[in-house]
């Protein structure tokens, strides 16, 4: 039983570094480490090895370095683009809200006129007026869903760096030559 606890602790020590662990697992691990010198030594050896690894600048193999630099560059660009898209979405929401408030009386009159012309009961065209205001929200929701599916497509990887050929060539053009690496230039 006790051996199982150490195995679990060792698994969590590695998992914490590689994938991350939940708050509950972290709490359990911390409690175990407080009372287990062997596992504590293992955790500290792991931390020490990884701290040294992080503090050093060890060159990657050239082919891998090029692809890694491109990946990091593209991620930064994607984050920048998503930020600017976020601002545009907020601005569009604000404009839509202000335009909606300002035009509400006219839209109401328009629906009323249409309702009378078509001989519809007032409840029906009033419901139509209410539904009209859901259109911007539906468009925004569709845009968000589309954006997420695009993002997932990029993450899943359409080729070796997760981009279409056109996006890849576009990104390569804007990278300094030395950052491209032999694997990408070939």
């Amino acid at each position: 039983m006790s051996g199982d606890l150490h195995v679990k602790a060792q698994r969590l020590i590695a998992e914490a570094q590689v994938e991350g662990i939940s708050g509950g697992d972290r709490e359990w691990l911390d409690q175990h480490l407080d009372h287990c010198p062997d596992c504590q030594r293992l955790a500290s050896a792991t931390d020490s090895a990884l701290e040294s690894l992080r503090s050093l600048s060890i060159p990657l193999p050239p082919a891998l370095a090029g692809r890694t630099q491109l990946r990091v560059y593209l991620r930064a660009r994607e984050i920048r683009e998503r930020r600017s898209a976020g601002w545009a979405a907020w601005a569009a929401c604000g404009i839509s809200w202000a335009a909606g408030i300002a035009s509400a009386p006219y839209v109401w009159r328009g629906f009323e006129w249409l309702g009378h012309q078509a001989g519809l009961p007032s409840l029906l065209w009033e419901m139509g007026f209410v539904l009209w205001w859901t259109v911007p929200a539906l468009v925004a929701a569709a845009a968000v869903l589309l954006d997420r599916s695009d993002w997932k497509g990029i993450e899943r990887g359409k080729n070796d760096v997760g981009l279409s050929t056109v996006q890849r060539e576009d990104a390569l053009d804007s990278l300094p030559h030395e950052a491209r690496g032999p694997a990408l230039c070939g």
Binding site: Q17, V18, L50, S52, P61, L64, T68, V72, D160
Partner: protein, 91 residues
Amino acid sequence: MTEADSGQPFQPEASGPSALDLATSLQTGARIQASLGRLPAIYREVLLLRFQEELRLEEIATLLGTPLATVKSRLYRGLEALRALFGEETA
């Protein structure tokens, strides 16, 4: 009160890491490099991509063209091996 008055040896104000810190850091660097050098390349590359380049696991899988599960298992095995080798180098 002057230094002579206090009887304390002269101690210049620290303006960065001491010579001992630098020497230790160099030694540690040499040890981790030696440990990495003894690791098989498939483990070395995932360790460097994860812990030095700080890429996500999915990104490493995409870069290397290997399944995510393979990346994870290489990372776990590589980490275990690195820890053992680093321990040996330190001992």
